[in-house]
Amino acid sequence: MSGYAEHGQLPLDGVRVCDFTWIVAGPQATRILADLGAEVVKVENESHLDSMRLGLQQDPSNPSINGSGFHSNFNRNKKGISANVHHPDGRKAVERLIAQSDVVIENFSAGALSRMGFDYERLKELRPNIIYVSMSGFGHEGRDSSYVTWGPTAQAVSGVTYMSGLPDQPPAGWGFSYLDHTAGYYGALATLIALHHRRRTGQGQHIDMSQVETGMVLGGVPILDYQINQREFKRIGNRSLRPSLAPHGMYRCAPVGTDDDRWIAIACEKETQWRAICGVLGIEHLMNDSRFSTNTERVEHQDELDTIIATQTREHDQRKLMYALQAVNVPAGAAQNMADKMEKDPQLRDRGFYQTAPHTELGVHRFEGFPAHFSQARWRLDRGAPTYGEDTVTVLRDMLGFSEAEIKRMQSELAV
């Protein structure tokens, strides 16, 4: 473990979030807030079920809305209520929740929450200093605001896809919804910024996020370069153009059992590191080869150099080579897959990154941790995602003040 006591307050204790999010980007935002102690209440309804509830199933042969480990990982620590906003009593429950919340957050397509009767004006009537965070693909403002995106769509339009890949191949892009993570991270940050602003001024506000924008900020340097130097962006694969370094890349290692897809990342920033690489790989003769005598020469002859290095790394075990290179201060790291990270990474293990928590139907599982330790606070992992409507009764009774009898009636009328 980290050496820090896992005790103290939850930093966001006392903050309440009314959470309409679904799929990945929105739940990623509220996951961070919930990990840090905010009371996040997810509002769901079967008529527009979060499709990630039917995502990766623990038991694929018997799918269920409570069976997704994927959903659980992104929605841990949250409370879950079911409510039908098109029924007067269901709406009343949601309105009471909003009135008692600091934040309302959603990632529907632009206009969807408004069509459910909860535009920003209505939210303000219910809670005058509400912070309303909308996370749509293109934002609520602007001529293309009706465009629909999933993570990969936003990645394509923003430039993020184009930036990833080999120069002589099509874009490789990202093999997952990177911008769902990213939009979620920025969504959590925007919420925190707005909370501080409200604490100082008393004012809430609407934060209008666009997932494509969260990708465009990742391409800021090429955007400046184009305007100033008229240079179009070009892919560089795994090489390093700025700064210009060689060797620099992803090199294939020896198979591990039947797995022949093992690679190591190696970077060389200094001459001492070049000599150390030559030593570890047994290519000391290259130290005296004029093609590789300086970084400039090595960059010039990078194709030949990469071929030589890859021939050597192919003979080495990925992890042993990583340790050998790090032992002589060379930046090197195994290209880890998920099994490597969860079962073989001593750093993540030592830091206690993967922790366990129960889920009502899936049982006890590991979850990804929060990537920071606090000296006077803790993050939490109390439980996995709520099963559908798991907390409806307790939230309606204990938080929103409905009587047991009212709740029973609302349930019988499918209002909640």
């Binding site: 990766l56 994927f70 993020v160 993570h181 604490r199 100033i228 920071a372």
Partner: protein, 412 residues
């Protein structure tokens, strides 16, 4: 007025620029502290006119908007003293110099512990503890260990896993750091105490690989990288296609609509080009509503036919007309191509600024969010090396002759 106006901060080290920018653009008075030779990113191109200069790196300009800049050589005891004085006057410190660097110079969190309300965020490649804490990394090494490359690349696994350009390890850690800092400041507002945050870049990246986690934890499956689309356990249909103009589009879900409201307009559009083949046959409607694992033959046929159609059009047409029928299709743009898209002008996404050494206005991306009542975005261009030395050290009570002396003796 920025939403975080009134907060003061110091940023030191090369790995916290994104965190510093995010907070500075939101109103924090962020003072970037550099060695007299300048931060590493000042040496990183591109430069204005491709001429390397300590003050014209576009890389530095982009990542240091809204900050003020000073120099301090913390190897010098006098500089350490000035640093501690500066720390006494701020709310937060972003420190990415490494687990021990500042401690060894009497300038770390412990040396500043008299300031009880201070929030100090240490951003390091692996955290301040653990067997890898002193390991060397660059962006590609951090990303490799954290996992994104093993999910990203090409169908052909003779080609390597791909680390995207753009220094994403710092971007991912930066936004986590900014959030952790604001959470700690929120707690301070309630309880009056500051604290040390130990943030690990490796953990930030490790938490950023989406479905790979659940596939392993719940099914003991490893996802395999594929060209331009999600990694998956079993090979999936291509989604990225090259259009008639040579550019790529993304047809999400193999281009198969998710509702009848999109399916019918799509068929009409295909009919205009005699490209619908036999898709009017009602049996294909089922692919809209059913699980991707069923109707495999029909799905493949629909996906193939739609892709063949899209490849005959221009990328812009596929994107715009597809979106007009609510298909979540995208055009694969270079980052700079968004400068010309009027939608972003409607949203004031690009804001006018300037770059030292370049005449004229330069448009910067605003910030990844649009605050409607307290503007967030660039307040000023990045500082020149030591630009605010006089201003800031005067605030500490130093006279101009002292400042000159400190500069000559290599303290500043």
């Amino acid at each position: 007025m920025g939403p975080l106006d009134g907060l003061r901060a110091l940023e030191i080290g090369d790995g916290g620029e994104v965190a510093g920018k995010l907070l500075a653009d939101a109103g924090v008075d962020m003072i970037r502290v550099e060695p007299p030779s300048g931060a590493r990113s000042r040496q990183t191109g591109p430069f204005v006119g491709d001429i390397p200069d300590i003050n014209t790196s576009l890389h530095y300009h982009y990542l240091n908007t809204s900050k003020r800049g000073i120099t301090l050589n913390l190897d010098e005891p006098r500089a350490q003293e000035l640093w501690r004085n500066l720390v006494n006057g701020v709310d937060l410190v972003i420190d990415s110099t490494g687990p021990d660097h500042l401690d060894q110079r009497k300038s770390g969190y412990q040396a500043c512990s008299d300031h009880q309300e201070l929030v100090w965020c240490s951003i390091t490649p692996f955290g301040r503890t653990g067997p890898f804490r002193d390991w060397k990394v660059t962006d590609i090494v951090s990303m490799a260990l954290g996992g994104p490359p093993m999910s990203s690349g090409y169908d052909d696994h003779e080609l390597p896993p791909i680390r995207s350009d753009g220094e994403h390890s710092f971007a991912i850690a930066g936004v986590y750091a900014a959030s952790a800092i604001l959470a700690a400041l929120w707690q301070r507002g309630s309880e009056g105490v500051g604290q040390l945050i130990d943030l690990s870049m490796h953990e930030c990246i490790s938490a950023t690989t989406e479905g790979a986690f659940a596939n392993w934890e719940y099914l003991q499956s490893i996802v395999q990288r594929q060209t331009g689309r999600h990694a998956s356990v079993d090979l999936s249909a291509p989604t990225q296609h090259q259009c008639a103009d040579g550019r790529y589009v993304l047809l999400l879900g193999g281009g198969i609509p998710r509702s009848r409201a999109s399916w019918e307009p799509l068929l009409e559009w295909m009919d205009e080009h005699d490209a619908a083949d036999d898709l009017h046959d009602p049996k294909y409607i089922d692919v809209i509503y059913t699980d991707p694992r069923s109707h495999a033959q029909e799905r493949d046929h629909v996906a193939d036919t739609v892709a063949r159609f899209a490849r005959k059009l221009t990328s812009e047409e596929v994107y715009r007309r597809g979106q007009s029928m609510r298909l979540p299709w995208g055009i694969v743009r270079r980052p700079e191509e968004n400068l010309d898209d009027p939608h972003w002008s409607d949203r004031n996404f690009f804001v006018d600024g300037n770059v030292h050494g370049h005449e004229g206005v330069v448009r910067y991306p605003r910030a990844p969010y649009r605050f409607t009542s307290s503007p967030v975005g660039m307040r000023s261009r990045a500082p020149l090396l030591g630009e605010h030395n006089t201003e800031i050290f005067s605030e500490l009570g130093l006279q101009s002759d002292e400042l000159t002396e400190l500069a000559i003796t290599g303290v500043l």
